[in-house]
Amino acid sequence: MPAYRPPQIPMSEVTPREIYLSRRSFMGSATAAGLAISGAGSAFAAPLMAKSSDYKVSDKLTPKEAITTYNNFYEFGVNKEDPSQNAGAFKTTPWSVKVDGLVGKPKEFGLEELMKMPLEDRTYRMRCVEGWSMVIPWVGFPLVALLNQVEPLGSAKYVSFETVVRPEEMPGQKGLFQALPWPYVEGLRLDEALHPLTLLAVGLYGETLPNQNGAPIRLVVPWKYGFKGIKSIVKISLTEKQPETTWKNSNAREYGFYSNVNPAVDHPRWSQATEQRIGEGGFFGGNRKPTLPFNGYADQVASLYAGMDLKANY
């Protein structure tokens, strides 16, 4: 019996590195849009086509492995590694986001439609209220682009958001000792929601969002603590009254509605003056960096809060 011989591939047939690295542009926007849709629901990340944007910080990116294994997503458990370990069975297709409330044209957006929004690559700093931070290359579109389509009424003052409830797929939502009441809800003032920095992310590192990062669509508000970035959104409502928010309901003394990143206002249990960049420094070389007001986005957003007492409105 002849021994198995692997096929010999001549070097001339090997795709040059420059070409395979530029495969996304090669595939072109037409095919990529289709891929994005078909891939969005699967457990496997699919590449996304997005145009570059100016919304990029120059900080060193946090490694993808850190971004996708060090997560707070209590629907899948309270430990950092829980979401990446427990989110495998979570199904993100079919998916839709209902946008209603004080709007002229309420609408339920299918995921396919959301994936066709003009996607951008944006690199934002992310500061968790727990005192750590990351630098994440998101793919998404500004929330304002979605809100414009539903035509908010003049009476709308706030936007509320809601995460899906699926105890059968989300182990943190069943059993004794659930960490929080579900659904997870969040909210923004309308002007915050309309701010060009406020992003609905559908991907990171050029691919669709992993389940543990809030697939298929999540909010990113880079000047606020990370828990404002509600994940796996199924509902967005425009309201007149300030919406309920999960962490404020859970402990109003520690977590406010605004939750803007502010090194001058301590969390009652720890200082917010510095932060630990995840994935840098290791065990012995820990390098706490000073935390910046509004997470370094003060030039863009400080004016939203002109005249407000940020200590009282934490």
């Binding site: 750590w132 929080l180 859970s250 200082s271 820990g286 706490r288």
Partner: protein, 232 residues
């Protein structure tokens, strides 16, 4: 009721030393993991937390010795000093990681934390209260202090309650793991005021048989238990 066969006396000392070795193994293992990149992307916090939880477990084990003897007839009093000292070592490691690797000797921040943040105030107080217990854990101190030693070491109840409170206040929400630890501590502390009436009742029940296995009889380590009936 002694379901576990008694360890021959000649192995007692060795078994205590083995307990120190085994007890320090989690710390050594986690330290190895953390320093070689095996503890995720925030190794300092993860190590700090896991060591803190082990400190609580050792305090739980320390507190379990007395009820284990009263209720199950298993006398492991000889291991109690090792368990208590191990708990102290873990608390010290927990604090040193916070001081050296987390806050990197930023004494202003440490002082601020201790003064301003109740859970750190409580945790630090527990560390301070453990020091006299660790210092007087040797046989000489036990003999020297006599009944005072027992009063002093009753501080462990305060420390255990403080440790549990420190833990509950430090987590964002009380889920199964914190609840289990705190519930065990609560249970073991709640047993203490019930102990005397329980032993009295038990003695009363046993009185007619006058069996030699009376559980309230002095233990074999008089040096460790100068006045057993006052204990607990």
């Amino acid at each position: 009721m002694a379901a576990i066969p008694a360890l021959p006396r000649r192995y007692h000392a060795a078994s205590i030393w083995a307990l120190y070795v085994v007890g320090l193994m989690p710390a050594a293992w986690y330290f190895f993991q953390a320093s070689t990149g095996g503890m995720g992307f925030n190794p300092v916090k993860t190590f700090e937390h896991v060591i803190g939880i082990w400190a609580l477990r050792l305090i739980i084990a320390t507190l379990a010795i007395t009820p284990l003897r009263d209720l199950a007839g298993i006398n492991w009093v000889r291991y109690r000093r090792a368990l208590g000292l191990l708990a102290f070592y873990y608390v010290v490691i927990h604090f040193m990681v916070y001081l050296l690797l987390d806050l990197r000797l930023d004494l202003g921040a440490v002082g601020g934390d201790i003064v301003k943040r109740p859970y750190i105030t409580i945790g630090f107080a527990c560390l301070l209260l453990l020091i006299p217990l660790a210092v007087t854990s040797n046989n000489w101190s036990i003999r020297k202090l006599g009944p005072t030693w027992i009063k002093l070491h009753a501080l462990i109840y305060l420390i255990a309650a403080g440790g549990a409170l420190h833990y509950v206040l430090a987590v964002k929400s009380v889920t199964l793991v914190p609840f289990t630890h705190v519930a065990l501590i609560a249970l073991l502390l709640a047993y203490r005021p019930l102990r005397k009436p329980f032993l009295k009742w038990k003695r009363g029940r046993k009185a007619p048989t006058r069996s030699g296995t009376d559980l309230s009889a002095p233990a074999r380590e008089p040096a460790l238990r100068p006045a057993p009936d006052q204990q607990g």
